[in-house]
Subunit: 292 residues, 2 copies
Protein backbone atom coordinates (compact mmCIF):
# COMPACT_ATOMS: atom_id res chain seq x y z
CA UNK A 1 0.00 0.00 0.00
CA UNK A 2 1.14 3.52 -0.74
CA UNK A 3 2.42 5.60 2.15
CA UNK A 4 -0.19 7.61 4.03
CA UNK A 5 -0.18 11.40 3.86
CA UNK A 6 1.95 12.15 6.95
CA UNK A 7 4.56 9.65 5.84
CA UNK A 8 4.58 10.95 2.27
CA UNK A 9 5.12 14.43 3.65
CA UNK A 10 7.94 13.24 5.91
CA UNK A 11 9.58 11.48 2.97
CA UNK A 12 9.34 14.60 0.81
CA UNK A 13 10.77 16.74 3.61
CA UNK A 14 13.67 14.37 4.07
CA UNK A 15 14.37 14.08 0.36
CA UNK A 16 14.45 17.82 -0.28
CA UNK A 17 15.38 19.12 3.15
CA UNK A 18 12.48 21.52 2.80
CA UNK A 19 9.42 22.57 4.83
CA UNK A 20 8.14 25.03 2.26
CA UNK A 21 4.57 25.08 0.97
CA UNK A 22 3.97 27.35 -2.01
CA UNK A 23 0.54 28.95 -1.92
CA UNK A 24 -1.06 29.24 -5.35
CA UNK A 25 -3.36 32.27 -5.22
CA UNK A 26 -3.77 33.34 -8.84
CA UNK A 27 -5.04 36.90 -8.89
CA UNK A 28 -5.39 38.34 -12.38
CA UNK A 29 -4.51 41.82 -11.11
CA UNK A 30 -1.14 40.62 -9.82
CA UNK A 31 -0.01 38.40 -12.68
CA UNK A 32 2.78 39.44 -15.02
CA UNK A 33 1.24 41.37 -17.87
CA UNK A 34 1.98 38.66 -20.41
CA UNK A 35 -0.34 36.31 -18.50
CA UNK A 36 -2.96 38.85 -17.55
CA UNK A 37 -3.66 39.41 -21.20
CA UNK A 38 -4.72 35.82 -21.66
CA UNK A 39 -6.67 35.27 -18.44
CA UNK A 40 -9.99 35.58 -20.17
CA UNK A 41 -9.49 32.02 -21.36
CA UNK A 42 -7.95 30.97 -18.05
CA UNK A 43 -5.00 29.66 -19.98
CA UNK A 44 -2.90 32.46 -18.52
CA UNK A 45 -3.73 31.49 -14.94
CA UNK A 46 -2.91 27.87 -15.61
CA UNK A 47 0.37 28.70 -17.34
CA UNK A 48 1.37 31.09 -14.57
CA UNK A 49 0.71 28.54 -11.83
CA UNK A 50 2.51 25.77 -13.71
CA UNK A 51 5.41 28.16 -14.25
CA UNK A 52 5.57 28.77 -10.50
CA UNK A 53 5.55 25.01 -9.91
CA UNK A 54 8.42 24.53 -12.38
CA UNK A 55 10.42 27.28 -10.71
CA UNK A 56 9.89 26.26 -7.07
CA UNK A 57 9.44 22.47 -7.08
CA UNK A 58 13.04 21.76 -6.09
CA UNK A 59 12.78 23.99 -3.01
CA UNK A 60 9.30 23.02 -1.79
CA UNK A 61 7.49 19.93 -0.56
CA UNK A 62 3.96 20.97 -1.39
CA UNK A 63 1.70 23.51 -3.00
CA UNK A 64 -1.50 24.93 -1.56
CA UNK A 65 -3.94 26.01 -4.25
CA UNK A 66 -6.45 28.47 -2.82
CA UNK A 67 -9.84 27.34 -4.12
CA UNK A 68 -11.36 30.83 -3.79
CA UNK A 69 -9.09 32.42 -6.35
CA UNK A 70 -9.93 29.75 -8.90
CA UNK A 71 -13.66 29.83 -8.11
CA UNK A 72 -13.66 33.60 -8.62
CA UNK A 73 -12.68 33.00 -12.24
CA UNK A 74 -16.17 31.77 -13.05
CA UNK A 75 -17.15 28.10 -13.06
CA UNK A 76 -14.41 27.28 -15.56
CA UNK A 77 -11.83 28.39 -13.00
CA UNK A 78 -12.14 25.05 -11.25
CA UNK A 79 -11.09 23.22 -14.39
CA UNK A 80 -7.95 25.37 -14.38
CA UNK A 81 -7.40 24.49 -10.71
CA UNK A 82 -7.54 20.78 -11.39
CA UNK A 83 -5.10 21.15 -14.28
CA UNK A 84 -2.69 22.95 -11.98
CA UNK A 85 -3.16 20.32 -9.27
CA UNK A 86 -2.47 17.51 -11.71
CA UNK A 87 0.68 19.28 -12.89
CA UNK A 88 1.94 19.80 -9.33
CA UNK A 89 1.54 16.13 -8.54
CA UNK A 90 3.27 15.15 -11.77
CA UNK A 91 6.17 17.33 -10.62
CA UNK A 92 6.38 15.39 -7.35
CA UNK A 93 4.80 17.96 -5.08
CA UNK A 94 2.13 17.15 -2.52
CA UNK A 95 -1.06 19.15 -2.87
CA UNK A 96 -2.99 20.67 0.04
CA UNK A 97 -6.25 22.10 -1.28
CA UNK A 98 -7.07 25.19 0.75
CA UNK A 99 -10.86 25.04 0.67
CA UNK A 100 -11.74 25.68 4.36
CA UNK A 101 -14.97 23.81 3.80
CA UNK A 102 -17.57 23.22 6.49
CA UNK A 103 -20.80 21.30 6.42
CA UNK A 104 -22.34 18.19 7.91
CA UNK A 105 -23.38 14.66 7.07
CA UNK A 106 -23.98 13.89 3.44
CA UNK A 107 -23.14 17.49 2.49
CA UNK A 108 -19.71 17.28 4.08
CA UNK A 109 -19.26 13.96 2.28
CA UNK A 110 -20.09 15.70 -0.98
CA UNK A 111 -17.47 18.37 -0.31
CA UNK A 112 -14.95 15.71 0.63
CA UNK A 113 -15.71 13.92 -2.60
CA UNK A 114 -15.33 17.18 -4.52
CA UNK A 115 -11.89 17.66 -2.94
CA UNK A 116 -10.49 14.14 -2.77
CA UNK A 117 -12.76 12.54 -5.33
CA UNK A 118 -11.32 10.11 -7.76
CA UNK A 119 -13.32 11.44 -10.66
CA UNK A 120 -10.84 14.16 -11.42
CA UNK A 121 -7.78 12.19 -12.26
CA UNK A 122 -8.49 8.56 -12.77
CA UNK A 123 -8.02 6.12 -9.97
CA UNK A 124 -6.02 8.17 -7.48
CA UNK A 125 -7.04 10.81 -4.98
CA UNK A 126 -7.17 14.24 -6.55
CA UNK A 127 -5.31 16.01 -3.74
CA UNK A 128 -3.22 14.90 -0.77
CA UNK A 129 -4.97 16.97 1.87
CA UNK A 130 -7.65 19.57 2.38
CA UNK A 131 -8.33 22.34 4.92
CA UNK A 132 -11.61 22.33 6.89
CA UNK A 133 -13.38 24.64 9.37
CA UNK A 134 -14.36 23.23 12.80
CA UNK A 135 -17.24 25.56 13.79
CA UNK A 136 -19.86 22.83 13.26
CA UNK A 137 -18.08 20.34 15.55
CA UNK A 138 -17.27 16.69 14.87
CA UNK A 139 -20.17 16.24 12.45
CA UNK A 140 -18.51 18.76 10.16
CA UNK A 141 -14.99 17.34 10.24
CA UNK A 142 -15.31 13.57 10.49
CA UNK A 143 -16.74 13.05 6.98
CA UNK A 144 -13.59 14.70 5.57
CA UNK A 145 -11.34 12.58 7.77
CA UNK A 146 -13.15 9.41 6.76
CA UNK A 147 -12.82 10.24 3.07
CA UNK A 148 -9.14 11.01 3.67
CA UNK A 149 -8.78 7.58 5.26
CA UNK A 150 -10.06 5.98 2.07
CA UNK A 151 -7.53 7.67 -0.15
CA UNK A 152 -4.52 7.89 2.17
CA UNK A 153 -5.02 11.65 2.45
CA UNK A 154 -4.92 14.23 5.21
CA UNK A 155 -7.10 16.93 6.70
CA UNK A 156 -5.94 20.22 8.23
CA UNK A 157 -8.41 21.70 10.72
CA UNK A 158 -8.42 25.48 11.20
CA UNK A 159 -7.28 25.88 14.81
CA UNK A 160 -5.59 29.25 15.37
CA UNK A 161 -5.68 31.22 12.16
CA UNK A 162 -3.18 33.87 11.13
CA UNK A 163 -5.51 36.84 10.60
CA UNK A 164 -5.82 39.84 12.95
CA UNK A 165 -9.39 39.05 14.06
CA UNK A 166 -8.79 35.34 14.64
CA UNK A 167 -9.05 35.92 18.38
CA UNK A 168 -12.64 37.17 18.31
CA UNK A 169 -13.87 33.60 18.72
CA UNK A 170 -10.74 31.46 18.81
CA UNK A 171 -9.15 33.15 21.84
CA UNK A 172 -12.26 33.22 24.03
CA UNK A 173 -11.75 31.51 27.37
CA UNK A 174 -14.01 28.67 28.42
CA UNK A 175 -13.89 26.46 31.51
CA UNK A 176 -11.51 24.13 29.68
CA UNK A 177 -9.27 26.70 28.01
CA UNK A 178 -9.61 28.77 24.89
CA UNK A 179 -11.65 27.81 21.89
CA UNK A 180 -8.50 27.14 19.85
CA UNK A 181 -7.26 24.83 22.63
CA UNK A 182 -10.61 23.02 22.53
CA UNK A 183 -10.24 22.56 18.78
CA UNK A 184 -6.70 21.32 19.34
CA UNK A 185 -7.95 18.63 21.74
CA UNK A 186 -10.55 17.57 19.20
CA UNK A 187 -7.89 17.42 16.48
CA UNK A 188 -5.66 15.34 18.73
CA UNK A 189 -8.52 12.96 19.40
CA UNK A 190 -9.53 12.61 15.74
CA UNK A 191 -5.94 11.82 14.86
CA UNK A 192 -5.21 9.39 17.71
CA UNK A 193 -6.12 6.29 15.73
CA UNK A 194 -4.54 7.59 12.54
CA UNK A 195 -0.84 7.88 13.34
CA UNK A 196 1.58 6.88 10.60
CA UNK A 197 5.06 5.36 10.65
CA UNK A 198 6.75 8.68 11.32
CA UNK A 199 4.63 9.48 14.39
CA UNK A 200 2.27 11.95 12.76
CA UNK A 201 -1.41 11.54 12.13
CA UNK A 202 -3.48 12.31 9.06
CA UNK A 203 -5.37 14.98 11.03
CA UNK A 204 -3.33 18.16 11.06
CA UNK A 205 -3.99 21.72 12.20
CA UNK A 206 -3.77 25.17 10.66
CA UNK A 207 -1.83 27.37 13.07
CA UNK A 208 -0.75 30.85 12.04
CA UNK A 209 2.88 31.97 12.07
CA UNK A 210 1.63 35.32 13.33
CA UNK A 211 0.85 33.88 16.79
CA UNK A 212 4.11 32.22 17.91
CA UNK A 213 3.08 31.85 21.55
CA UNK A 214 -0.08 29.97 20.69
CA UNK A 215 1.88 27.90 18.21
CA UNK A 216 4.08 26.59 21.00
CA UNK A 217 1.09 25.81 23.22
CA UNK A 218 -0.64 24.03 20.38
CA UNK A 219 2.42 21.90 19.60
CA UNK A 220 2.11 20.44 23.11
CA UNK A 221 -1.63 19.83 22.78
CA UNK A 222 -1.26 18.15 19.39
CA UNK A 223 2.03 16.24 19.49
CA UNK A 224 1.01 14.00 16.59
CA UNK A 225 -0.50 16.60 14.26
CA UNK A 226 1.24 18.14 11.30
CA UNK A 227 0.93 21.91 11.37
CA UNK A 228 0.13 23.84 8.24
CA UNK A 229 1.49 27.27 9.11
CA UNK A 230 0.28 30.24 7.09
CA UNK A 231 1.30 33.81 7.77
CA UNK A 232 5.04 33.58 7.00
CA UNK A 233 6.41 36.47 4.97
CA UNK A 234 3.82 38.86 3.60
CA UNK A 235 1.62 38.45 6.70
CA UNK A 236 4.52 39.16 9.05
CA UNK A 237 5.57 35.78 10.47
CA UNK A 238 9.33 35.07 10.58
CA UNK A 239 11.24 31.78 10.72
CA UNK A 240 11.95 32.22 14.42
CA UNK A 241 8.20 32.51 15.00
CA UNK A 242 7.53 29.08 13.51
CA UNK A 243 10.49 27.20 14.97
CA UNK A 244 8.27 25.73 17.68
CA UNK A 245 6.14 23.96 15.09
CA UNK A 246 8.93 21.46 14.29
CA UNK A 247 10.16 18.47 16.24
CA UNK A 248 13.82 17.72 16.91
CA UNK A 249 14.04 15.95 13.54
CA UNK A 250 12.75 18.98 11.66
CA UNK A 251 9.43 17.29 11.02
CA UNK A 252 5.87 18.07 11.95
CA UNK A 253 5.07 21.19 9.95
CA UNK A 254 4.99 22.87 6.58
CA UNK A 255 5.10 26.64 6.35
CA UNK A 256 3.17 28.38 3.60
CA UNK A 257 3.99 31.48 1.66
CA UNK A 258 1.80 32.65 -1.18
CA UNK A 259 2.32 36.25 -2.26
CA UNK A 260 5.89 36.29 -0.93
CA UNK A 261 6.86 33.62 -3.46
CA UNK A 262 4.52 33.75 -6.42
CA UNK A 263 4.48 37.53 -6.71
CA UNK A 264 8.10 38.06 -5.61
CA UNK A 265 8.82 39.51 -9.07
CA UNK A 266 6.69 42.53 -8.22
CA UNK A 267 9.21 43.57 -5.57
CA UNK A 268 12.40 42.40 -7.24
CA UNK A 269 11.61 43.08 -10.87
CA UNK A 270 12.87 40.70 -13.51
CA UNK A 271 11.64 37.26 -14.45
CA UNK A 272 8.75 35.97 -12.31
CA UNK A 273 10.07 32.41 -12.26
CA UNK A 274 13.56 33.43 -11.18
CA UNK A 275 12.09 35.68 -8.49
CA UNK A 276 9.84 32.87 -7.22
CA UNK A 277 12.70 30.35 -7.22
CA UNK A 278 14.92 32.76 -5.29
CA UNK A 279 12.16 33.46 -2.76
CA UNK A 280 11.39 29.76 -2.25
CA UNK A 281 15.06 28.86 -1.82
CA UNK A 282 15.60 31.72 0.62
CA UNK A 283 12.53 30.65 2.60
CA UNK A 284 13.68 27.02 2.68
CA UNK A 285 17.10 28.05 4.01
CA UNK A 286 15.55 30.53 6.44
CA UNK A 287 13.31 27.82 7.93
CA UNK A 288 16.10 25.26 8.07
CA UNK A 289 18.30 27.73 9.93
CA UNK A 290 16.00 27.75 12.94
CA UNK A 291 15.56 23.98 13.33
CA UNK A 292 16.71 22.62 16.67
CA UNK B 1 -32.68 51.56 -6.82
CA UNK B 2 -33.85 47.98 -6.50
CA UNK B 3 -35.00 46.81 -3.10
CA UNK B 4 -32.32 45.42 -0.84
CA UNK B 5 -32.30 41.75 0.10
CA UNK B 6 -34.30 41.94 3.38
CA UNK B 7 -36.98 44.02 1.70
CA UNK B 8 -37.12 41.73 -1.34
CA UNK B 9 -37.60 38.81 1.01
CA UNK B 10 -40.33 40.61 2.95
CA UNK B 11 -42.11 41.45 -0.30
CA UNK B 12 -41.95 37.84 -1.46
CA UNK B 13 -43.22 36.60 1.89
CA UNK B 14 -46.14 39.02 1.76
CA UNK B 15 -47.00 38.22 -1.84
CA UNK B 16 -47.07 34.45 -1.34
CA UNK B 17 -47.84 34.21 2.35
CA UNK B 18 -44.92 31.80 2.57
CA UNK B 19 -41.78 31.38 4.71
CA UNK B 20 -40.58 28.27 2.90
CA UNK B 21 -37.08 27.82 1.51
CA UNK B 22 -36.59 24.78 -0.70
CA UNK B 23 -33.15 23.25 -0.31
CA UNK B 24 -31.70 21.98 -3.57
CA UNK B 25 -29.37 19.11 -2.67
CA UNK B 26 -29.10 17.04 -5.83
CA UNK B 27 -27.80 13.61 -4.90
CA UNK B 28 -27.59 11.23 -7.84
CA UNK B 29 -28.39 8.25 -5.57
CA UNK B 30 -31.71 9.79 -4.54
CA UNK B 31 -32.98 11.10 -7.88
CA UNK B 32 -35.87 9.44 -9.69
CA UNK B 33 -34.42 6.74 -11.92
CA UNK B 34 -35.30 8.60 -15.09
CA UNK B 35 -32.93 11.39 -14.05
CA UNK B 36 -30.27 9.25 -12.49
CA UNK B 37 -29.67 7.63 -15.85
CA UNK B 38 -28.66 10.92 -17.39
CA UNK B 39 -26.58 12.39 -14.56
CA UNK B 40 -23.33 11.54 -16.28
CA UNK B 41 -23.94 14.61 -18.43
CA UNK B 42 -25.36 16.59 -15.50
CA UNK B 43 -28.40 17.30 -17.60
CA UNK B 44 -30.42 15.08 -15.29
CA UNK B 45 -29.44 17.03 -12.21
CA UNK B 46 -30.30 20.31 -13.86
CA UNK B 47 -33.65 19.02 -15.14
CA UNK B 48 -34.52 17.54 -11.75
CA UNK B 49 -33.76 20.78 -9.88
CA UNK B 50 -35.66 22.88 -12.41
CA UNK B 51 -38.57 20.48 -12.10
CA UNK B 52 -38.55 20.98 -8.33
CA UNK B 53 -38.55 24.73 -8.86
CA UNK B 54 -41.51 24.49 -11.23
CA UNK B 55 -43.42 22.36 -8.74
CA UNK B 56 -42.74 24.39 -5.59
CA UNK B 57 -42.33 28.01 -6.72
CA UNK B 58 -45.87 29.00 -5.81
CA UNK B 59 -45.47 27.74 -2.23
CA UNK B 60 -41.95 29.02 -1.52
CA UNK B 61 -40.09 32.32 -1.31
CA UNK B 62 -36.60 31.08 -1.96
CA UNK B 63 -34.40 28.17 -2.86
CA UNK B 64 -31.12 27.20 -1.23
CA UNK B 65 -28.78 25.39 -3.59
CA UNK B 66 -26.21 23.41 -1.63
CA UNK B 67 -22.88 24.09 -3.35
CA UNK B 68 -21.34 20.86 -2.08
CA UNK B 69 -23.69 18.60 -3.97
CA UNK B 70 -22.98 20.41 -7.22
CA UNK B 71 -19.22 20.53 -6.60
CA UNK B 72 -19.22 16.80 -6.00
CA UNK B 73 -20.37 16.32 -9.58
CA UNK B 74 -16.92 17.23 -10.87
CA UNK B 75 -15.96 20.74 -12.00
CA UNK B 76 -18.81 20.81 -14.50
CA UNK B 77 -21.27 20.51 -11.62
CA UNK B 78 -20.90 24.20 -10.92
CA UNK B 79 -22.11 25.06 -14.40
CA UNK B 80 -25.24 23.03 -13.63
CA UNK B 81 -25.63 24.92 -10.35
CA UNK B 82 -25.54 28.29 -12.09
CA UNK B 83 -28.09 27.11 -14.63
CA UNK B 84 -30.40 26.06 -11.81
CA UNK B 85 -29.84 29.37 -10.00
CA UNK B 86 -30.65 31.36 -13.10
CA UNK B 87 -33.83 29.34 -13.58
CA UNK B 88 -34.95 29.87 -9.98
CA UNK B 89 -34.54 33.62 -10.30
CA UNK B 90 -36.39 33.62 -13.60
CA UNK B 91 -39.24 31.88 -11.74
CA UNK B 92 -39.32 34.69 -9.17
CA UNK B 93 -37.60 32.88 -6.32
CA UNK B 94 -34.85 34.40 -4.23
CA UNK B 95 -31.66 32.36 -4.12
CA UNK B 96 -29.59 31.73 -1.00
CA UNK B 97 -26.39 29.97 -1.98
CA UNK B 98 -25.45 27.59 0.81
CA UNK B 99 -21.68 27.70 0.52
CA UNK B 100 -20.65 28.14 4.19
CA UNK B 101 -17.44 29.74 2.98
CA UNK B 102 -14.74 31.07 5.25
CA UNK B 103 -11.51 32.87 4.48
CA UNK B 104 -9.94 36.26 4.96
CA UNK B 105 -8.97 39.39 3.09
CA UNK B 106 -8.51 39.07 -0.63
CA UNK B 107 -9.37 35.38 -0.46
CA UNK B 108 -12.75 36.05 1.14
CA UNK B 109 -13.29 38.70 -1.52
CA UNK B 110 -12.58 36.10 -4.17
CA UNK B 111 -15.17 33.75 -2.63
CA UNK B 112 -17.67 36.58 -2.40
CA UNK B 113 -17.05 37.35 -6.04
CA UNK B 114 -17.49 33.68 -6.92
CA UNK B 115 -20.86 33.70 -5.10
CA UNK B 116 -22.26 37.12 -5.90
CA UNK B 117 -20.11 37.86 -8.91
CA UNK B 118 -21.66 39.47 -11.91
CA UNK B 119 -19.80 37.33 -14.37
CA UNK B 120 -22.30 34.53 -14.15
CA UNK B 121 -25.41 36.20 -15.39
CA UNK B 122 -24.71 39.50 -16.99
CA UNK B 123 -25.05 42.67 -15.02
CA UNK B 124 -26.95 41.50 -11.94
CA UNK B 125 -25.82 39.68 -8.84
CA UNK B 126 -25.74 35.95 -9.33
CA UNK B 127 -27.46 35.09 -6.05
CA UNK B 128 -29.44 37.02 -3.44
CA UNK B 129 -27.57 35.80 -0.38
CA UNK B 130 -24.85 33.43 0.74
CA UNK B 131 -24.03 31.52 3.92
CA UNK B 132 -20.67 32.09 5.65
CA UNK B 133 -18.79 30.60 8.61
CA UNK B 134 -17.65 32.92 11.45
CA UNK B 135 -14.73 30.95 12.93
CA UNK B 136 -12.15 33.40 11.52
CA UNK B 137 -13.85 36.44 13.07
CA UNK B 138 -14.72 39.76 11.40
CA UNK B 139 -11.93 39.48 8.83
CA UNK B 140 -13.65 36.41 7.44
CA UNK B 141 -17.18 37.80 7.27
CA UNK B 142 -16.89 41.47 6.40
CA UNK B 143 -15.62 40.96 2.83
CA UNK B 144 -18.80 39.00 2.10
CA UNK B 145 -20.99 41.68 3.69
CA UNK B 146 -19.23 44.41 1.72
CA UNK B 147 -19.72 42.55 -1.55
CA UNK B 148 -23.37 42.01 -0.60
CA UNK B 149 -23.68 45.76 -0.05
CA UNK B 150 -22.53 46.36 -3.60
CA UNK B 151 -25.15 44.10 -5.14
CA UNK B 152 -28.06 44.58 -2.72
CA UNK B 153 -27.53 41.07 -1.40
CA UNK B 154 -27.50 39.39 1.99
CA UNK B 155 -25.22 37.22 4.12
CA UNK B 156 -26.29 34.52 6.58
CA UNK B 157 -23.71 33.81 9.27
CA UNK B 158 -23.64 30.33 10.84
CA UNK B 159 -24.61 31.00 14.45
CA UNK B 160 -26.26 27.95 16.04
CA UNK B 161 -26.30 25.12 13.52
CA UNK B 162 -28.83 22.31 13.43
CA UNK B 163 -26.51 19.31 13.68
CA UNK B 164 -26.09 17.11 16.77
CA UNK B 165 -22.48 18.17 17.45
CA UNK B 166 -23.07 21.90 16.96
CA UNK B 167 -22.65 22.41 20.69
CA UNK B 168 -19.06 21.17 20.81
CA UNK B 169 -17.83 24.69 20.13
CA UNK B 170 -20.96 26.81 19.74
CA UNK B 171 -22.41 26.08 23.21
CA UNK B 172 -19.21 26.60 25.17
CA UNK B 173 -19.59 29.22 27.90
CA UNK B 174 -17.29 32.21 27.98
CA UNK B 175 -17.29 35.23 30.29
CA UNK B 176 -19.76 36.95 27.97
CA UNK B 177 -22.06 34.03 27.23
CA UNK B 178 -21.85 31.14 24.83
CA UNK B 179 -19.95 31.18 21.58
CA UNK B 180 -23.19 31.25 19.59
CA UNK B 181 -24.31 34.28 21.62
CA UNK B 182 -21.00 35.95 20.86
CA UNK B 183 -21.53 35.31 17.16
CA UNK B 184 -25.06 36.68 17.49
CA UNK B 185 -23.72 39.93 18.95
CA UNK B 186 -21.22 40.20 16.11
CA UNK B 187 -24.00 39.57 13.58
CA UNK B 188 -26.15 42.22 15.22
CA UNK B 189 -23.28 44.68 15.04
CA UNK B 190 -22.44 43.96 11.42
CA UNK B 191 -26.07 44.50 10.49
CA UNK B 192 -26.69 47.65 12.54
CA UNK B 193 -25.88 50.04 9.71
CA UNK B 194 -27.59 47.86 7.09
CA UNK B 195 -31.25 47.84 8.12
CA UNK B 196 -33.81 48.06 5.32
CA UNK B 197 -37.28 49.51 5.09
CA UNK B 198 -38.92 46.54 6.76
CA UNK B 199 -36.67 46.64 9.83
CA UNK B 200 -34.36 43.80 8.88
CA UNK B 201 -30.71 44.00 7.99
CA UNK B 202 -28.77 42.35 5.20
CA UNK B 203 -26.79 40.36 7.76
CA UNK B 204 -28.79 37.32 8.80
CA UNK B 205 -28.06 34.25 10.89
CA UNK B 206 -28.31 30.51 10.43
CA UNK B 207 -30.13 29.11 13.46
CA UNK B 208 -31.23 25.47 13.53
CA UNK B 209 -34.85 24.44 14.04
CA UNK B 210 -33.54 21.61 16.16
CA UNK B 211 -32.62 23.97 19.02
CA UNK B 212 -35.84 25.91 19.75
CA UNK B 213 -34.66 27.30 23.09
CA UNK B 214 -31.54 28.84 21.57
CA UNK B 215 -33.62 30.12 18.69
CA UNK B 216 -35.71 32.20 21.08
CA UNK B 217 -32.62 33.55 22.84
CA UNK B 218 -31.04 34.43 19.54
CA UNK B 219 -34.13 36.25 18.31
CA UNK B 220 -33.69 38.66 21.23
CA UNK B 221 -29.98 39.13 20.59
CA UNK B 222 -30.50 39.77 16.86
CA UNK B 223 -33.81 41.65 16.55
CA UNK B 224 -32.90 42.94 13.07
CA UNK B 225 -31.50 39.77 11.55
CA UNK B 226 -33.35 37.45 9.24
CA UNK B 227 -32.99 33.86 10.37
CA UNK B 228 -32.33 31.09 7.90
CA UNK B 229 -33.63 28.09 9.79
CA UNK B 230 -32.48 24.63 8.67
CA UNK B 231 -33.47 21.42 10.39
CA UNK B 232 -37.21 21.43 9.77
CA UNK B 233 -38.67 18.10 8.71
CA UNK B 234 -36.12 15.40 7.98
CA UNK B 235 -33.78 16.66 10.73
CA UNK B 236 -36.57 16.69 13.33
CA UNK B 237 -37.59 20.34 13.73
CA UNK B 238 -41.36 21.08 13.80
CA UNK B 239 -43.28 24.27 13.06
CA UNK B 240 -43.82 24.93 16.77
CA UNK B 241 -40.05 24.79 17.23
CA UNK B 242 -39.46 27.63 14.79
CA UNK B 243 -42.37 29.89 15.76
CA UNK B 244 -40.04 32.05 17.84
CA UNK B 245 -38.05 33.00 14.75
CA UNK B 246 -40.88 35.17 13.38
CA UNK B 247 -42.06 38.61 14.44
CA UNK B 248 -45.69 39.56 15.02
CA UNK B 249 -46.05 40.26 11.30
CA UNK B 250 -44.84 36.82 10.32
CA UNK B 251 -41.56 38.21 9.07
CA UNK B 252 -37.96 37.71 10.05
CA UNK B 253 -37.22 34.16 9.00
CA UNK B 254 -37.27 31.57 6.26
CA UNK B 255 -37.36 27.89 7.13
CA UNK B 256 -35.54 25.43 4.92
CA UNK B 257 -36.42 21.89 4.02
CA UNK B 258 -34.34 19.96 1.53
CA UNK B 259 -34.88 16.20 1.58
CA UNK B 260 -38.39 16.55 3.01
CA UNK B 261 -39.49 18.36 -0.14
CA UNK B 262 -37.28 17.39 -3.03
CA UNK B 263 -37.21 13.67 -2.20
CA UNK B 264 -40.78 13.50 -0.85
CA UNK B 265 -41.63 11.11 -3.70
CA UNK B 266 -39.44 8.46 -2.11
CA UNK B 267 -41.85 8.23 0.83
CA UNK B 268 -45.11 8.89 -0.96
CA UNK B 269 -44.49 7.20 -4.28
CA UNK B 270 -45.87 8.73 -7.44
CA UNK B 271 -44.70 11.74 -9.38
CA UNK B 272 -41.75 13.56 -7.83
CA UNK B 273 -43.09 16.98 -8.76
CA UNK B 274 -46.52 16.35 -7.27
CA UNK B 275 -44.93 14.98 -4.11
CA UNK B 276 -42.64 18.02 -3.83
CA UNK B 277 -45.52 20.44 -4.42
CA UNK B 278 -47.62 18.72 -1.76
CA UNK B 279 -44.75 18.76 0.72
CA UNK B 280 -44.01 22.44 0.09
CA UNK B 281 -47.65 23.43 0.40
CA UNK B 282 -48.07 21.43 3.60
CA UNK B 283 -44.94 23.01 5.04
CA UNK B 284 -46.11 26.50 4.10
CA UNK B 285 -49.43 25.93 5.84
CA UNK B 286 -47.77 24.26 8.81
CA UNK B 287 -45.49 27.26 9.34
CA UNK B 288 -48.30 29.77 8.86
CA UNK B 289 -50.40 27.96 11.45
CA UNK B 290 -47.96 28.81 14.24
CA UNK B 291 -47.53 32.50 13.48
CA UNK B 292 -48.54 34.78 16.35
Amino acid sequence: MALQFPDRLAAATAARDSRVCVGLDPRPDLLPSTFAQSTASLAGVTRFCCGIIDATAQYAVCVKPQAAHFEALAPEGLAAMWQVIAYARKCGLLVILDAKRSDIGSTAEAYAQACFGRHHQGAVAAVDAVTVNPYLGSDGVEPFIEMADQVGGGVFVLTKTSNPSSGELQDLQTASGTIYQTVARLVNGWGASRIGETGYSSVGAVVGATYPQQLGELRELMPHSIFLVPGYGAQGGAAADVAGAFDENGRGAVVNSSRGIIYAYRATGGDYQQAAADAARTMRDDLNSVLG
